[in-house]
Amino acid sequence: MSKAASEHGTLKSYWLGFILSIGLTLAAYWAVVGKLIAGKILIGTLLALALAQTVVQLVLFLHLGQESKPRWNLLVFLFMLSVLLILVFGSLWIMYHLNYNMMPTE
């Protein structure tokens, strides 16, 4: 692969990313509208579809992990991901327990 191709991707990778993303979006939409599954399974399915689409776009559109060493872009991405996970899951965890412990007792 030439330098220009690795930086801007290829036509094939863009088409693949586009078709997969559309497919995953429609799948998530039908999972909710079609009412085939419900509850925790549905939420799990939706999260899995969103994560799959994120990976598709990170690899095929943003070309993450395809740079030559040292992989600074990937390193900064992983650091951001750890901050993101601590922030989001930490907030949800703390606030859920706060709500639970501060419920009015009868």
Binding site: G9, T54, Q57, F61, M80
Partner: protein, 196 residues
């Protein structure tokens, strides 16, 4: 400086700029993760007002999603015409990207005005404040991206593609793809899970 050394030096500057921009995008991800965390914590705080089940129209959100996704794809196609040195093709694909992005923003403004006219503004409840902040911040990013696209494309149309404009367009492409990745989570966490 020999020609090849000048070329290598230029490439180094180019990749450093793009890396710096990548670091900015990563910090923007952290901004959005704060807004997502806020939304997820406050989404049930409706204070007697409408909940996400009453407000959201999934088909409308799906069309917005497809518009933004397609514009992300066409911005990639635009940059693929760089190695061919095909400026016309590049400008044409960016024009398509711009139209799709502008339609997305127009739909979002329509949705927001609709909510506010029905009396469901950001002042009503914690849920609506969090919703308008999260989705509005994303919309503001897309609008900024559209403005940036005009600023970059007009010189390319007049003077052709230069190394500097190529560097800037590469950053814009990354920014545009990033906005679509953020939207995946708005579509899933806010709209799809909001109506369950």
């Amino acid at each position: 400086m020999t020609h090849s050394a000048a070329h290598a030096h230029h490439h180094e500057v180019h990749s450093k700029t793009v890396f710096g921009f990548w670091v900015y995008i990563m910090t923007d991800c952290i901004l959005f993760s704060c807004l997502f965390a806020t939304y997820l914590v406050l989404q049930n705080g409706t204070f007697g007002g409408p909940s996400s089940r009453d407000l959201f129209d999934l088909r409308f959100a799906l069309i917005e999603t497809i518009l933004l996704l397609t514009s992300s794809f066409t911005s990639g196609l635009a940059m693929l015409s760089v190695p061919e040195r095909n400026t016309k093709k590049l400008v044409a694909w960016f024009a398509v990207t711009f139209l799709l992005g502008a339609s997305f923003v127009a739909m979002e403004i329509t949705e927001f005005t609709h909510f506010v006219q029905d009396g469901h503004s950001w002042e009503k409840s914690a849920f609506l404040s969090a919703f308008f902040t999260l989705v509005g911040t994303h919309g503001l990013h897309v609008s900024t991206g559209l403005l940036w696209m005009i600023i970059l494309i007009v010189p390319v149309m007049r003077h052709g593609l230069t190394p500097v404009s190529l560097k800037r367009l590469t950053c814009l492409r990354l920014f545009w793809h990033f906005l679509d990745v953020v939207w995946i989570f708005i579509f899933t966490l806010v709209y799809l899970m909001g109506v369950l």
